[in-house]
């Protein structure tokens, strides 16, 4: 019973998408101001995403008690796209481009609430990976469930590509008792 109560509370506290989009935008713009190199900004966004991911995974598991350990990467990809993205960004990317070995896949994002109003600044700004936080969050979240992955954008509509494609590559399975690496 208390569980449904919590759910209702969460819903009542929802913020509008615009506020969220503008908050993230203001935030990225500020770090871009503070750091000289765009590469450094991308790195920071990734790190911030990572810190979000390691926390978010617990929230995700709390909301979805039926999600257990995944047996293979296909299952992981499925949960990530259909439940993770749906819960936190309200979109369900499609899973495509599996590598022959089955250790790498792409998520095609159709419509991204983070980038609604964004146009990248000229010059250096074109190298900015605006959505890098999503990569970090996926990396952080999966690391907490013993999966080490590499995550990057290979196409980005903000840079004039036709689609926004996020590539996730499985690196290794982390052992249970091993200490976690610091970020």
């Amino acid at each position: 019973m208390s569980r449904t109560n919590v759910k209702q509370n969460l819903d009542a506290r929802r913020v509008t998408q615009e506020l969220f989009t503008l908050t993230y935008g203001a935030f990225v713009a500020q770090i871009l101001n503070d750091y000289e190199h765009v590469d450094e900004v991308n790195k920071q966004l990734d790190k911030i995403g990572y810190n979000i991911g390691v926390r978010l995974i617990d929230d995700f598991l709390a909301r979805n008690p039926n999600v257990g350990r995944c047996h293979d990467l296909r299952e992981t990809a499925d949960v990530l796209a259909k439940q993770g993205f749906k819960t936190y960004l309200g979109i369900s990317p499609s899973i495509t481009n599996w590598s022959p070995a089955g250790d790498e896949f792409s998520l095609l994002l159709d419509g991204n609430p983070l980038t609604e109003f964004v146009e990248l600044p000229e010059g250096q700004g074109q190298k900015l990976s605006y959505n890098q936080m999503i990569c970090g969050a996926i990396r952080g979240a999966l690391e907490m469930v013993q999966l080490e992955v590499e995550c990057r954008f290979v196409q980005d509509q903000l840079k004039g590509d036709n689609a926004t494609e996020l590539r996730v590559k499985f690196l290794k399975k982390l052992e249970d008792a091993l200490p976690v690496g610091e970020d």
């Binding site: 208390s2 919590v6 617990d58 929230d59 598991l61 008690p65 249970d176 008792a177």
Partner: protein, 148 residues
Amino acid sequence: MVVYNLYIFNRNGQCLFYREWLRRRPGTMTQEEEFKLMNGFMHSIKSFVQRLSPQDLKDGFVSFKTNCYKLNYYETATGLKFVLNTDNNVGNIRDILHQLYSTIFVNYIVKNPSCSATDIINTEQEIFIEKLDEFISNLSIFAQTNKA
């Protein structure tokens, strides 16, 4: 029914949090030793149970009973371990432990920016402790703890 005490371990085996509601007999070792033993014990019994199992286990190790108390175990996919000791009359409380994790731990520790889900929870996290006490004392299995 009675609730005795609670341990929370992180995936590295560090005891993040300990709380007791009823414990008449003090432990025979230092608390630190007890945490270490408990974690090691959980680790061993988990793998032992898995090895002995005649078929694939779904949840793995869930609980064990002695003649005077029952140890209930719950582990999340992120490697957090919850150990709750109760008396023998308590049934399967997996759901309760999941609720403890999802409504108390996640809400007041994980979502609290000033503490980390992998660090020891210090006594300054009053809101977590308060909510935890409230949660435990509202459980039906807690009913006789104070009378016991």
